[in-house]
Symmetry: D2
Subunit: 141 residues, 4 copies
């Protein structure tokens, strides 16, 4: 992403249910946190993913990749950032950075990730993204 890109920032605390017996956040939960950040980015771009689905377009994850740098623990304050990495007519790739911010120290990078999503119609067939969505996503790069 270039410096001018739109980037969402969502903050929340780690839930007890998200920890595992290692005492840290279970690794699959970061994909859920990416989705929270993505939802917030789309809202920030002036629409909502909920309304998109109601209008018959689904964005289905076709690829996901995560790198785990450090661990989060129960009740810590988390910030998830999301931005548009690449847009095509039928797919969009989002980038993510997940940070721990509840220390006095500077934010600690926990996870970096990206996911690729493809546009589907209500019956699950690939389709081009609605023009309005495409414009918003491209404008945010």
């Amino acid at each position: 992403m270039n410096q001018a890109a739109v980037r969402s920032a969502s903050e929340f605390r780690v839930r007890y249910a998200e920890t595992d017996q290692m005492g840290v956040v279970y690794h699959a939960n970061y994909l859920i946190w990416c989705e929270i950040a993505r939802t917030d980015l789309i809202r920030q771009l002036g629409t909502t993913y909920a309304s998109l689905e109601r209008q018959g377009t689904v964005l289905a994850v076709s690829e996901a990749a995560l790198r785990y740098h450090a661990s989060a623990r129960y009740d810590e304050l988390i910030r998830t950032e999301c931005w548009v990495d690449r847009v095509r007519s039928r797919l969009v790739r989002f980038g993510y950075r997940i940070l721990k911010i509840d220390d006095d120290s500077s934010p600690l990078k926990l996870v970096t990730a990206h996911t690729t999503l493809i546009a589907l119609d209500a019956s699950g067939r690939p389709r081009t993204m609605p023009a309005d969505l495409l414009t918003r996503l491209k404008g945010s790069e």
Copy 2:
């Protein structure tokens, strides 16, 4: 339940994702295990919940109550039992018993529970249960 009642028994191992930082299974997961047992009971009664939904009937949980007696840990072998506790035309109450069985010793009772489910149509309105389902549920008491 009387002694002649149909009772399902599902077995599986505790997933790592189901543990929390206390080192035991997070308490909300037992509701998910109850649902596994309920799915298996309905299959045992000769139909499937999946087909019921496809035919336009949803069973929505309206009440749940759980008592936690002992804790389960990662990779332990679990048995969940489910039976029909009470049936009315619009609702059914299931009973559950969740046990740990991977010791040489006798099974250890972890959780007892019950849930009440009400029948809804595809648009979320209360309805009477399909006659065939009602017959199967009543026959299992």
Copy 3:
């Protein structure tokens, strides 16, 4: 609870991961939301559950009961309220009310619940609650 009782209020949006194929929030997730509200109540009382565990006291759920009144959907704004219902030296019962608030209309009650928690030491044996915690909990009734 009486009118003067301390009551926490936590707000967040429904995550996509929390929905199920019925199109609404899966019922087990409300227990997770209760825990969020409980964490926030304890913080509001001037301590944190995280520090309590670090000092060797665990509060383990021994009973839970939920009544489901209405359904929540993806991206809706939720408020969970929690208060102390009853305190004894070894256990505490919390009450919960979960509401949907993202409409222009008045809040909609989704779930009412209560959970009973018992104090355990680090090795899982019942213990009396730390005096400081007991005082805070009793003061909030």
Copy 4:
């Protein structure tokens, strides 16, 4: 992997809790299914991950990548396969293939994935893997 490699195969049905409002399995759950397959592979190699942790070695996920080919639905029968892809003294990379098998037709590939795990001691510091584990993992390639 070469043809002679050890490959675990775990089978289970999709839980209702694992679906989302799209009517299919929520994408983060496949990471949980990978962990089930990994647990079973380690058991097949003659030890258990649970005992490994009890002896002070943790395998923490440092990277994960998933490709989603098709969707799974509630109650469908799933098979997850896992094998050792690469072993070093401090890390191991596992490969996964997740299939749907409850049709009369041939298995349908849902997800392919790999995860890299690094060995940590009980206090979270990188360590070399126990010699016995290393031997078992290398022998399975």
